[in-house]
Amino acid sequence: MRYFFALFAVSVAAVIALLGFRGSHFRKPPLYIFPDMEFQLKLRPQAPSGFFPNGRTSQLPVPGTIARAVPVQTASGPVFPFEDAPVNTGWVVGTTNFVEHNPLPITSALLKRGQQRYTINCAPCHGGLADGNGITRKIGAMAVVANLHDKRIVEMPDGELFYVITHGRNLMGPYGAQVSIEDRWAVVAYLRALQLARLGEPEDLPPQLRTLLK
């Protein structure tokens, strides 16, 4: 019996020594003891795959593919993303002149959305106040970040701001792939609000709000 207890204690200790405790960090892939149907012959997104020649599961659509999409509701009616329209390009139809005004109806919901998207995508460099003092400037990692209150940017038509967000300019990369068309116009609208907050005159306010100014 004594031998049994000794053996038992040793084996318990051995198991604990070998397997360790819950929650400890490990590098090797987890062990699947009963991997019933856990790994199926199907493609998961952004994974390697031998099925396609370029070795990836996520494939780009064929060139010329038109997304089946919900139209964007502009102030002048619904527009599909494949149409040659100012809301998609930032240009006046048939030209490369930028449209002067945001084609989306400016609502408080649009500005709220713009604020959220601006904070996510733009504020890291341009700063929450759009003065170019984002985190990349603060840590001294980026030499040139545009101050969006510069006269040249304030004077840009809305369409040009949209175009720059979509395609990038100078050192700024394109954001067209990650910020949707409506969100880009929402950001433009919010940016205009930020600029007005700095440039506005007391006369711009409705009379009932003007009295609140000191």
Partner: protein, 203 residues
């Protein structure tokens, strides 16, 4: 004597199976070496970036996308632009060959988890991924087992939070009572269907 021995061995086997044969042991703590030493702690905790700068499709898509390396280059074309740690990112952005990141969080192929429906209905990233904003290297923080899903699906009011706090990993409710009240209101207002039938997840 045989009885004592049998009980001991049997008990040890049961205890061992209970302790080791669950994802709480087999998956929690998985921390593979990634091809690029990306630090969530640096980018999110120290620099204050939002999760959705990189994982931009998480609100529309069933999976939370990994960013393409061109997105890294939005900043890293200037920030640490010659750093050897980022050589693979620069190469990937130049050639278009993806970085072979190692997947950590993975549900079985017969489970259909949808990210967008959770993050747009008040479930934060932190509930399943842990304090990922503090991780130098990402590790598997929660078991992601079926019971883990069901615990929350049976009591969603304990986890729902304001929609503007989804990517705030440090948000805490004011009190458990306030959380419960907010959660119950949110279930009604946002039409939260924390389904418990099989086909909600298994198809």
């Amino acid at each position: 004597m045989v009885l004592t021995g049998g009980l001991l061995v049997g008990g040890a086997l049961v205890a061992g199976a209970w302790y080791y044969l669950t994802p709480k042991y087999s998956r929690v703590g998985y921390k593979p070496i990634q091809p690029v030493a990306f630090s969530h702690n640096t980018h999110v905790n120290q620099l204050g970036m939002d999760c959705r700068y990189c994982h931009n499709a998480v609100e529309q898509s069933w999976y939370s996308n990994l960013p393409d390396s061109a997105k890294c280059m939005n900043c890293h074309n200037q920030v640490l632009k010659d750093d050897p740690r980022l050589a693979l990112v620069r190469e990937s952005a130049a050639t278009g060959q993806p970085i072979p990141w190692v997947q950590i969080h993975r549900v079985p192929d017969y489970v259909y988890f949808n990210h967008s429906v959770h993050v747009t209905r008040g479930i934060s990233c932190v509930e399943c991924h842990g304090q990922i904003d503090r991780m130098e290297e990402v590790y598997h923080a929660q078991p992601l087992s079926m019971t883990f899903c069901l615990d929350c699906h049976r009591h969603p009011e304990l986890k729902l939070r304001p929609l503007d706090k989804i990517t705030d990993m440090n948000w805490q409710p004011e009190s458990p009572l306030q959380q419960r009240e907010f959660g119950q209101r949110a279930i009604k207002n946002w039409k939260v269907e924390s389904l418990e039938n099989c086909s909600a997840c298994h198809r």
